[in-house]
Symmetry: C2
Subunit: 421 residues, 2 copies
Amino acid sequence: MVKVDLSGALGFLDSAGPDYGAASLAHKALADGIWAGAEFTGWRQLPRRVQGEELKKIQTAAERIRDTSQVLVVVGIGGSYLGARAGIELIRPKNGPEVIFAGNGLSPDDLNDKIERLGDRDFSVNVVSKSGTTLEPAVAFRVFRGLLEKKYGAAAKKRIYATTDAARGVLKTIADDEGYETFVVPDDVGGRYSVLSAVGLLPLAAAGCDIQTLVGAAAEAMYDLDQRSAENPAWQYAAARNALYARGKTIELLASYEPSFRYMAEWWKQLFGESEGKNGVGIYPASVEYNADLHSMGQYIQEGPRTLMETVVSFERPLRDYEVPFSMGDADGLNYLAGRGLGEISRVAMEAVKAAHVAGGVPNIGISVPRRDEDGFAELVCFFETACAISGYMLGVNPFDQPGVEAYKKNMFRMLGKPGA
Amino acid sequence: MVKVDLSGALGFLDSAGPDYGAASLAHKALADGIWAGAEFTGWRQLPRRVQGEELKKIQTAAERIRDTSQVLVVVGIGGSYLGARAGIELIRPKNGPEVIFAGNGLSPDDLNDKIERLGDRDFSVNVVSKSGTTLEPAVAFRVFRGLLEKKYGAAAKKRIYATTDAARGVLKTIADDEGYETFVVPDDVGGRYSVLSAVGLLPLAAAGCDIQTLVGAAAEAMYDLDQRSAENPAWQYAAARNALYARGKTIELLASYEPSFRYMAEWWKQLFGESEGKNGVGIYPASVEYNADLHSMGQYIQEGPRTLMETVVSFERPLRDYEVPFSMGDADGLNYLAGRGLGEISRVAMEAVKAAHVAGGVPNIGISVPRRDEDGFAELVCFFETACAISGYMLGVNPFDQPGVEAYKKNMFRMLGKPGA
C-alpha cells in the first residue's frame, strides 16, 4: 500500500491542515458518478474487469510475441504508450524482447534510427489507437506494417496485434479485414487512465512483467483507495497539493532517486497535466531525477522563486543492495562509508535533501511503496489515478476531458491538406 | 549560425519590443569582465584555447579508448556529464564504443543494472570531477576502478582517464600517484559551461563525434556571438525571454521535435536554472518533447494558466528524410501524404502547433540551426551559453555561481558521519 508522508508539507499550511472535507465530497461524487466526466470512470474497475478471460488472452498473445520475436514495436502516442513504457522501464524485466516505442513523433531521423535499431531481427507490432486516425501512430503503423509485410509476406498479419475500439473506427476496420488479433480500448476509460487495460498490459506482459501479480495488486489497491477516510493516501495527496497550490505553490516537482522512474514521471505529467490544466488553472507538473538533478536544478530549487512544491516517490527497499567497497590507503577518503549499502546511503541523501529544501521554502510530500516491482507499479498507478480524479474535482475541473488537444490537430490537418479538413 | 524567430513572441510585448539596450549593457559587462562572476567567463575562449595541442591530446586518448574498449564508462554529475551526454545523444555517432554515464546517483538498483549492462566487455573509465570529493561520482569511481583492477590488474591504470583540476584536489593526487592520463577542468570555467573543454570533448570524441569540426564551428560561433548588435541572436533570445518573464511568463518550455534533443534540454535546464535561479528570481526551465508531449502536456499548454512561454529548437533539414509510403486501397486514409517526406510534414506540424499555442496565449520563440550534427551542436552550445550569461546579467544575478547547491551536501555529509563534517 502507498504511504503518504506530509511531515514536510504541513508547516506550509495553516493549522486547519489539508481540506479532507473537500476531498471527501470529491471522492463521493467520483464514486456516485454524479459530476462531470462520470462516463469515463471505468478505470476504477479495470483491475477487476480484466481478471479472468481477458487476462488469459493477453498472456497468450504475449507468450506468442515472446516466442516469435526479438523485438516488439509498440505504436502509440500519449496514453497509448506512456503507461506501458513507464511500467517496463520501472520494473526492467529481464530476458524479454526489446520493446521499441514508435509512432509518438514525426521526426524522420528518429524513425530511421528506430528502423536501424530493429535491424533484421524478428519482430511483431502492437498498434494502440482508439480511432486509428491520430496522425503520428497512423504513419508509423503504415511504415512498420510495410516492413513486416516485406519480411514475412502473408504471415505478417499474424505478427500484428491491434488494441483499439471494440466496434468502430479505422483501425478496427483494418484489423477485422486483415484478421489481426484485437484487444479493446474500453469506452469508459480515457487514454491517460488506460494502462491497466490491454493498452498497457499487452506490452508489459510481452516484455516479461508478471501481469497476473500486477493486476492482483491493482485490484487490491483500488479497493483500499475506495475507502472514504482521512487515512486514504489519495485524499492526503490530493488535499495537500491543492492546499499548497492555493498558497502559491504553482509548480509541482515529481522527484525520484531511481533513474528507472523516469517514464513514470512522464506518465504522471500527462495524468495530472491533462486532467487539471484547463480553464486557466492547474499546477504545472514537472519532474526531476535525483541525485543527478541536485547538480543541475538543485540551485533553482533551493534559491529560486518560492513557487515550488516537491513530491518525492521512493521505494523502501532496493531489489539488490550494493556495498561501498573498502580501499587500501583510503586515497579518496570514502572508507567511512565502506561496507555500508548504497540503499541506506541513498536514503540518508533523501532525508538531507528534504531538510535542505523544506528549510529553503519548498514543501515536501513523500510517497513510498515497498519496491520497484509489479506490486509497486500497480500501487502507484492506482494511487495516482485515484488522487488525480479527486484532486481535479477539488480544483473544480473535469479531470476526464482534454478539449485543448484538438487545437493543433485541426491546424495541422488543414495545413497538410487532409481531405475534408 | 543560430537563427532566432521572435514572430510568435512580439505580439505579447508592448510596442517597444525586447530591451536591446539592456542586452547591450549586459554584453559589454560580460566582455569587459566587470560584473559579478567575471573570473568564470573563460568559456568564451574555450574553443580557441583548446585548438592545437590539447585537441590532439584528446583525440589521441579517444583513439586509444576506441581501439581498446567496447564501452566507455563516464563518471561525473551535473556539468561533468550533461554536456557530453547531450552531444552524444543529439549527434548519435555510429560505430563507437557504447558510453555508460555513471556516478550521477546513488541508487544501488541502477548501479547493479549498469554493471550488468557492462557485462564482460572491454572498457575504459573517464572520471570527471574538479575536486574528486563530490560523493556520487567518487563512490562510482571507486566501484568502476575496482572492476577495472579486477579485470586488468596492473594494466587497469592505463584505462583510466581523469579530467580534473590542473594542480589540486583528491582526484588530481590519485591520478598523479597512479599515473593516469589527466585532462584539465579549467579554473575559469564553471561546470555548466565546460562542455567545450576536455570535460565534454573526450567523451564526445571517444563516442565517435568529430571534435575537430565541432571545435572549429564553436570558435566561429563564439566570434559571431561576440558582435554587439541587435542582430545578435543571443541578444534577441535573452531580451525576449526577460521581457516575457516581466510580463508574467514564469515557466519556459524548451521544446523540440527531435527525440535525440532530450539531453540537450537537460543540459539547457542546468545552464539556465543554475545560472538564474537565485535570490528568489528566475524563469523555471522545463522541457517537452514533441510530438509525443502534445498528447500529454498539450492540454495544459493550450488551456492551463497563462504563465508559459515556449522556446522551440528546430533543425532545418533532417540527416535523411523518410517518405510516407503509398498503400493500396488507402484503408487508413493516409494516401494524401504518400510520397511526401516526414521532414516537411513535421515542419508543418511545428507551424500548426505554433499557431495553436500563440492563439491560446503562449508566446513562442523559434531557435534553429541547419542540422543535428557537430556544427549544429556547437552552434547551440555557444548560443545558449552566451545568451544565458547576458540574460542572467539582465535579470540582475550572477550567472556564474551556485551557492544553493551546498545546502543538501552539508546535511548529507553530516548525517553520513563524514569525518570533519
